[in-house]
Amino acid sequence: MLSSGGESGSCSKDMAVELGDEPHVLVVDDSLIDRKLVERLLKNSSCKVTTAENALRAVEYLRLGNDTLEGTVSEVNMIITDYCMPGMTGYELLKKIKESSVLKEVPVIIMSSENIPTRISQCLEEGAKMFVLKPLKRSDVKQLKWHLMKCRN
């Protein structure tokens, strides 16, 4: 039974997840076309989507590094980020996420247009759940959702 506000925010959020709420995915990419594509792919797969046009915006949205604002639970269930972005790269964003006590359990997916083995292993070693070559396809989204479901249970 969902308690209406008596419990802390984290409890009601977990309950909402169990009731089959749509997963909330944050998509970070400086390419408008790619943001639109990934958003459509995810929405067609019953995900709620928020987009950010660079890592800095993502950091602001996630309230990373600001302990007083971070809250107790993550509002996003997954973060998909492009690797090559001006300013902070996707790799640097990944590191920041892994340093956060609230967000480090959120699965992070890195996308890249370039198939560079050292880049891939670097990201996976830093804790990325998946590395996907762009452009994203429906089969990639299927794999993504599998990681999402795994992380929820």
Partner: protein, 165 residues
């Protein structure tokens, strides 16, 4: 022209774009993302691609026109264009960008200028083709018809895989 004839013309035209390599499997993915709740998805993405590409081609022209060419900047623009053309399935533009980048690496002015011309040519070609295709679709819809699907067998004969090699 009646709807059936228009539909056949569209199917033949679309098939030719794939056979001639203007479009690849990624464009198919785009079409599959379009449905009743998002009926204009392809047009929207293609329009974004046109706007983005034209800006990038202008930036590239200016960058290569400098007395001291900043190849890092040129490469960054080409990288972007390669990405967006890859995302919509504009295969020949993408391939022209790949060649372009290798000459950027070599800091070869003459070759990169030739590449720019090549990319522009491929871009304007595919732009023209896509606009024609979308216009044919519009005419069919305006006449009350639906956009025909291309039979699965076609994709098998031209051996189009799901996208990335």
């Amino acid at each position: 022209m009646e709807v059936g004839q228009m539909q056949r013309r569209l199917v033949d035209y679309t098939k030719s774009l794939f056979m001639e390599g203007f479009l690849d499997a990624q464009f198919l993915q785009l079409q599959q993302l379009q449905d009743e709740s998002n009926p204009d998805f392809v047009v929207e993405v293609v329009s974004l691609f046109f706007d983005d590409s034209e800006k990038l081609l202008n930036d590239l022209t200016m960058a290569l026109d400098q007395p001291n060419v900043d190849f890092k900047k040129v490469d960054a623009h080409v990288h972007q264009l390669k990405g967006s053309s890859s995302s919509i399935g504009a295969q020949r533009v993408k391939n022209a960008c790949i060649a372009f980048r290798s000459f950027c690496e070599e800091h070869n002015i003459d070759a990169t200028l030739r590449c720019l011309q090549q990319v522009k040519q491929e871009y304007y070609l595919v732009k023209n083709k896509l606009e024609t295709m979308l216009r044919l679709e519009q005419q069919i819809v305006a006449a009350g018809g639906s956009i025909p699907m291309i039979e699965l067998g076609f994709w098998r004969t031209i051996n189009m895989k799901g996208g990335k090699e």
